[in-house]
Symmetry: C2
Subunit: 161 residues, 2 copies
């Protein structure tokens, strides 16, 4: 089984796939008479297609164990999908470049509890993968008409460690 | 000074002003082969006006002390504004009905750490008011052209306790 080594999640490394939603390194300005700092506009939210709208939902996920066998990635042709962790656990973010014959080899990132991600529209990615414990997330994604899911099953699984 | 007593934040009590974003009492369905539960579509996200788009930002706020003197409410004519707490602190949510001559007497709710709120477009509300400690929030609101802020200063302040 081919192995994928998990790398640190940084804005630069994740840029081909989406945005990292974190305070660290974000541009900001003060609001509310200096009582609050706003780290502004950290993700490109995309909602396209018929009757498209932005959804806010919550997720409660069971944890996965590493090493993790990965057989499938998916993508959403009509919208981006942001995950911001509400629990104090890391999670795994898998993404893959798109090629004419489908997704390339996956890339795996370790998101720390203070890091969210926004996966851009039509970018291949793994399902939500909490680590270490049951974890809640707020998810900002797209509602509307049409089939907003494509799945790709790799002919051979990868082992992420 | 007129006093406002803080009430518990529930979906029913907050319904005239917006949505409560919480797992408790939300409708849900399983995803990812049963590894995750999705509490789906918990807030009405509104983005109107020229070049409107949804923003995801983070806020880092200093705490306020109770009782709190309230002199002002504001509203956003072009969009809703959702706040989901990332820290384990409660926060105060102030809202007011709209009347022909401006906002009525404010209403105050205590949001627990597992509760977010989405304030609907054009609803009078207080500024973000963390309690007990420095607190982070994810905010989902509207970017675009035009002046998306109206403020109202009450002729006499209220004391929220």
């Amino acid at each position: 089984m081919r192995e994928i080594l998990i790398q640190q999640l940084t804005r630069e490394a994740f840029a081909p796939f989406g945005d990292v939603i974190e305070i660290e390194g974000a541009s900001s300005f003060p609001i509310n008479h200096g009582m609050c700092v706003r780290y502004h506009d950290l993700a490109k939210v995309e909602t396209t297609g018929d009757n498209a709208r932005t959804l806010i939902s919550l997720l409660h996920g069971k944890p996965y164990e590493l090493p993790l066998k990965l057989e499938m990635v998916e993508r959403h042709p009509f919208g981006s999908q942001a995950f911001v962790p509400l629990s104090n656990n890391p999670f795994l973010v898998v993404a893959a470049h798109d090629y004419p014959d489908g997704p390339g080899d996956p890339v795996a990132f370790l998101a720390q509890p203070a890091q969210g991600v926004n996966i851009h529209r039509d970018v291949w990615h793994g399902i939500l993968t909490p680590l270490k414990g049951q974890s809640d997330f707020v998810v900002i994604d797209r509602g509307g008409d049409g089939v907003n899911l494509q799945e790709h099953f790799y002919p051979e699984a990868f082992l992420i460690r």
